[in-house]
Subunit: 410 residues, 2 copies
């Protein structure tokens, strides 16, 4: 008998509960093991549930799971990251395997929790934390045993991709598209983490840390979101036959790690061009393997729950130890560099006299195409170093000029 | 010390040899195991080699590998499928793990060899047999432990995809594009297996057998190739804004398995549209997971060798037993059904009087758009059952009328 403690019974948690209950008999035939959810941590007893569940299984006290010696595996599907972190740490300390879907916990604490799991010879698995239903963490762990991954690039956040698709196809202002995403349940009431790119940066940090075997702290990743895109930008993108995507990208070259999250304008030739709505696409580049693409539903109840169960199965099969990765916990945390490239800038001036003030300076950085329209100036720079990009931003901010920028990859 | 016997030193075999030699030290650090290629089976001693290799390692006699009790793992990278089959069987009987890249051996013998491996408690792994460097077999094996796969669809053969890309983009006749593919080393001197779709059918058979847990014999899969496509067809496809791809597809519904390999016309909205040259794209549909895409280099020295090494690592880590799949060997072999759908037909008549003879009959099957041009008639049927398709083919053949057909998925 394998006893599971489930933390959280929201969308993902109830998906996990349903799959385990439906598949129980199948699991038993396959590995001759009964799998049972023994206890479920919830926040409020009275709340209406998505699933039909015996009240006796529910508890408000994490200790009833974490201190229960009969519970072998703890599945974390909590939304509160601090509670989740404490529970995960405590579960590992109490010699339980842990599976989590929480990128907000994994990203900053991957090395610490992985190290703790190794000491305890228990599993710390997090397939569901990146790419929802797409199997990406486990294949990546396998790949790095043979090949050198040199680049990762991806649309890693379904919410922003939905908003961008909506803005582009219907020429809507950002806040209208955001509202629609909230209405459809894609975006949360406080959408900051998604639209500012923090969620993407967390996932990029997890993928990069696994791939390069070095801490790539998400706090240090250059991160620029999509909330400043205006309808005027959408018109300009269409004019150029490009579409905007929020892309997290990292690469390792000559021992340096480069990483950034930023809007990128892609052309029809790009694999990202046709990734619509809440789907995710992740590109890995290996020296032997070449470029691999992984595409699927980046979130959602069943896809994410399915990824969690895959990790649980690996624990039951006893192959988890080989899935615990090696990260040198002693290496200095890496402060990654951003990307040079072709860049799009839109400046919106309150005062026309600021236009020359800003432009005469910055057009010296690179060959540059300027399109002026009333108080808007669009500047397309042929090649900017990341340092130049930051300087331009600083100057615009100094003059109180509103701006939006995006790398161009098309 | 893990001793490996390598069968074959062609493109893939020499890739395997190189990676193991380069990575040897890394493997040792990671699992504290020395990995050594002890013997390599070749066909001719005098041939020029792609790799720098000690003559003492080479042998012309398979028994020097298969009977060597010190050899733990046999890697098959042979081109002769009969020799390969005998060696693999013999290796398993002699208690050796086997890793193979040969779809021509795996497709018809998967159940038998898998069963033998289980009896011997050894590994029989074949990640490299489908999709070259794309990790697809192992992720699929993991998925089916939790989810139900209901559909598989893929561009599984790089050679035909290269030829179709060439024909479409440069409006070339089939044989010119084929010659170019042979010149570039994509197509073999005898290209039958590729252009007739047999190679795709073998890979589809392997994926389907693993996914559905039932024998899906490739001999029974409806299989129509690309060698009858004419430049006139290419013109017609462009007129319709569609592009031809050779697609293997299978699905399971109400207990019935459907499977076919055939040219399919896809629109810009299809994920297959932008798969060019020798790349592969495989779509899996799981009930929980939804649609997943796997894309990458479907062949080539390094990608394929890398997949082989991934299997070897799984053996060394001792997790291979869980990778041996369950197929009920007692189930009747499944004769899969083909696909109904919208169909494109081009008939080329030697004698104009045959036109009416053929058409008056077959236009009754479905709503149908006819385009006549000299001795060519293009017919686009809104909906044909697979039985109708076969009847049309039989009638055309009976009249000695040249034809090409393709399903339309756009």
């Amino acid at each position: 008998m394998i006893n599971i403690g489930l933390l959280g019974l929201g969308t993902v948690g109830s998906g996990v509960y349903e799959i385990i209950n439906q598949q129980g008999l199948f699991f038993k035939n396959q590995w001759n093991e009964d799998i049972k959810i023994k206890k479920v941590l919830i926040k409020h007893k009275e709340k209406e549930r998505f699933v039909d569940i015996d009240d006796n299984l529910l508890t408000l006290n994490p200790k009833e799971i974490l201190d229960d010696e009969e519970i072998d595996i703890v599945i974390d599907a909590l939304s509160d990251r601090e509670v989740a972190y404490n529970c995960i740490k405590n579960a590992l300390e109490n010699n339980k395997h842990v599976v989590t879907a929480s990128k907000a916990v994994v990203a900053p604490n991957l090395c610490e929790l992985q190290y703790l799991a190794k000491q305890k010879r228990k599993a710390f698995l997090f397939e569901a934390s990146v790419g929802g239903g797409i199997p990406i963490i486990n294949p990546l762990k396998q790949m790095i045993e043979v090949d050198n991954i040199v680049q990762i690039e991806g649309i890693l956040n379904g919410t922003t991709n939905y908003i961008l698709t909506k803005m582009y196809e219907e020429e809507l202002p950002f806040y209208v598209a955001l509202k629609d995403a909230q209405h459809k349940g894609y975006a949360e009431l406080d959408p900051t983490d998604d639209i500012k790119g923090y969620d993407t940066a967390r996932k990029l940090s997890i993928l990069s840390t696994v791939a390069y075997g070095q801490k790539v702290n998400f706090d240090y990743i250059d991160c620029y979101g999509i909330d400043k895109i205006a309808v005027e930008d959408i018109y300009a993108f269409k004019e150029m036959d490009l579409t905007p995507k929020l892309i997290g990208k990292s690469k390792i070259k000559d021992g340096n790690i480069y990483a950034a999250v930023e809007p990128v304008l892609v052309s029809k030739d790009s694999s990202f061009f046709s990734v619509k709505d809440a789907f995710n696409l992740i590109l890995l580049n290996g020296l032997n393997t070449g470029e691999l693409h992984f595409y699927g539903q980046g979130a959602g109840k069943n896809p994410t729950a399915n990824s969690i169960i895959l990790d649980v199965i690996n624990i039951i099969k006893g192959i988890y130890e080989s899935e615990n990765i090696n990260i040198d916990d002693n290496t200095q945390e890496y402060k990654p560099l951003g990307f040079d490239g072709k860049y799009y800038f839109r400046f919106t001036f309150k005062d026309v006299k600021d236009i020359d003030l800003l432009l005469e300076d910055i057009v010296q950085y690179s060959q540059c195409k300027l399109i002026k329209e009333n108080k808007n100036v669009i500047a397309i720079f042929e090649w900017l170093s990341r340092k130049n990009v930051d300087e331009i931003i600083n100057k615009a901010q100094g003059l109180g000029v509103d701006y939006f920028y995006s790398r161009i990859d098309g």
